[in-house]
Amino acid sequence: MQVVGERQNVWTAPTGRRTDEWSECLTQIAEHEDRAAFTRLFRHFAPLIKAFALSGSTMSATHADELVQEVMLKVWQKAAAFNPEKAAASTWVYTIARNCRTDMFRRLQKFDTPLAAEDFTPEQDGEEPFAQLQSKRSGERIREMMADLPADQTQILAKVYMEGKSHAEAAAELDLPLGTVKSRVRLAIQKLQVQFERA
C-alpha cells in the first residue's frame, strides 16, 4: 500500500486556508450545486470509498457500490457543512464513509438501534480558531509522518481503521497477543504526536 499519496494540499499563509482542488469542489457544490465539481469529486473519491468498503473483505461488491452511492449522495447534501478552516476535504469525506459503513454493517446484521454513527462524531463547530488550527496542523503532520512508521505498526492501523476491526479482532487475525497489538497502536500514535489525556 502506498502510504502517502501525491500531495494535493496547498497552504497559503497566514490563514492556513486550504485551497486544494477537493475543497474547491465542495465549496462549488455548496454554493452553486455544481454537478461538474461533483463529478470530479466522484471520480477521485468513489474508488477510494469502494476500496474502504471492500477492505477486510466482509462486504459484497453490491453492498460496496451501494455504500459508494450513499456516501457520495451525503457529500452532495452536506457539502455546506464542510469547513476548510478545520479539516482537509479527504478527512471530511472519510468520516462520512466511516459513518455510513458502520451504519451499513449494523443494518446488515439486523441490528436495530435508534442511534446513527454520525451521532457519535464530535461536533467541532464550537471550537476556538486556535483549536481548529491545531487540528489542521496535526492532520498535516500525521500525513507527513505516516510514511515513516514501521510496517508492523502500519499493518495494525490499517486493520483498525480500514477494516474497522477492534484491537482484539486485529490480534486474533494477525495471531498476535492482544498486548502486542495495543502497544503497537500506542507506539504508532505517539510517533504521530497525537495528544491525549492519561486515562
Binding site: A64, Q69, A80, S90, D119, P122, I142, V160, M162, A199
Partner: protein, 219 residues
C-alpha cells in the same frame, strides 16, 4: 473539565468506528464534556483519513456515477445549521437525551438497594447493557467485581472509590479483576451512566444473594 478520561485504545476504536454502539455512546457522551478528548479523536480520525486517501483505488464505473447523478435532484443540498451550541457544554449529552426521551425523573427506575436505583436505556446493542444508576447522596454501591468490563460516566453529582473522586464528565473503565465500592458524594445524589458487558458480581457476603437478580439486560 473532566479529570478522568477514556483510555487511548477506546478513543482509537471510537475514532475508527469499531467500538460497539453502547460503548461508543458512552465515549461520545464523555466527549460532550471534554475538549481535550474531542481534540484527540479528531487527530485519531486524521490517521484513518490518511490511510483512506492512500488506499489502492478500486475501479468504479460510469454506470454508478450516472446513477448517483440521476439522484441528485431528489437530494437537494442541505443548508448548514451550526451546532455550536451543542458542543462543550455540560448539559445532558444530546445523544443520551435521545435515548431517554425525557428527564431523569420520567424514567422507570428500579430499586436495587436503599441507596441504588437503576434504569435501562435501549441502544439496540445485543452485547452491552446501557443503564443509568441513581445513587443517593452518601450512598454506597455494594463492593463488586465485574464479570466483564464496566464503563462509567458521571452525569450529575459524583462518587469516590479507591482511585479518586469523580465529577460530571469523568469516565472510568473497570475490568473483570477490579473490585470497588463507589460511594456517592455526601452533598448530592449521583447519576451516572454505566455500560456493562456482563452483570455486576457483588462480592460482599451481605449482597451476594442479589447476584441472580442482576442478569444482563442488553439491547
Amino acid at each position: 473539565m473532566a479529570t478522568f478520561h477514556p483510555q487511548l485504545e477506546l478513543l482509537t476504536e471510537h475514532a475508527a468506528g469499531s467500538l460497539s454502539v453502547a460503548q461508543s455512546a458512552c465515549v461520545a457522551a464523555h466527549l460532550n464534556y471534554c475538549a481535550e478528548c474531542r481534540h484527540s479523536v479528531v487527530q485519531l480520525q486524521n490517521i484513518g483519513a490518511t490511510l483512506f486517501e492512500s488506499a489502492d483505488p478500486s475501479p468504479v464505473g460510469d454506470v454508478l456515477l450516472n446513477r448517483v447523478l440521476a439522484r441528485l435532484d431528489e437530494e437537494a443540498p442541505l443548508h448548514h445549521s451550526s451546532a455550536a451550541d451543542q458542543a462543550g457544554n455540560n448539559a445532558t449529552p444530546a445523544l443520551l437525551q435521545r435515548l431517554m426521551q425525557g428527564d431523569f425523573s420520567d424514567l422507570p427506575w428500579r430499586k436495587v438497594t436503599d441507596a441504588l436505583r437503576i434504569t435501562r436505556l435501549q441502544t439496540g446493542d445485543p452485547n452491552y447493557e446501557f443503564a443509568l444508576y441513581h445513587i443517593k447522596a452518601g450512598g454506597v454501591i455494594p463492593d463488586h467485581g465485574h464479570r466483564g468490563s464496566e464503563m462509567t460516566l458521571i452525569l450529575e453529582g459524583g462518587f469516590s472509590d479507591d482511585r479518586g473522586t469523580y465529577h460530571p464528565g469523568d469516565f472510568t473503565y473497570r475490568r473483570q479483576e477490579d473490585e470497588h465500592a463507589p460511594q456517592a458524594l455526601a452533598d448530592q445524589d449521583c447519576i451516572c451512566l454505566a455500560v456493562l458487558d456482563a452483570p455486576l458480581r457483588f462480592t460482599g457476603w451481605k449482597h451476594r444473594w442479589m447476584n441472580p437478580f442482576l442478569r444482563l439486560h442488553a439491547g
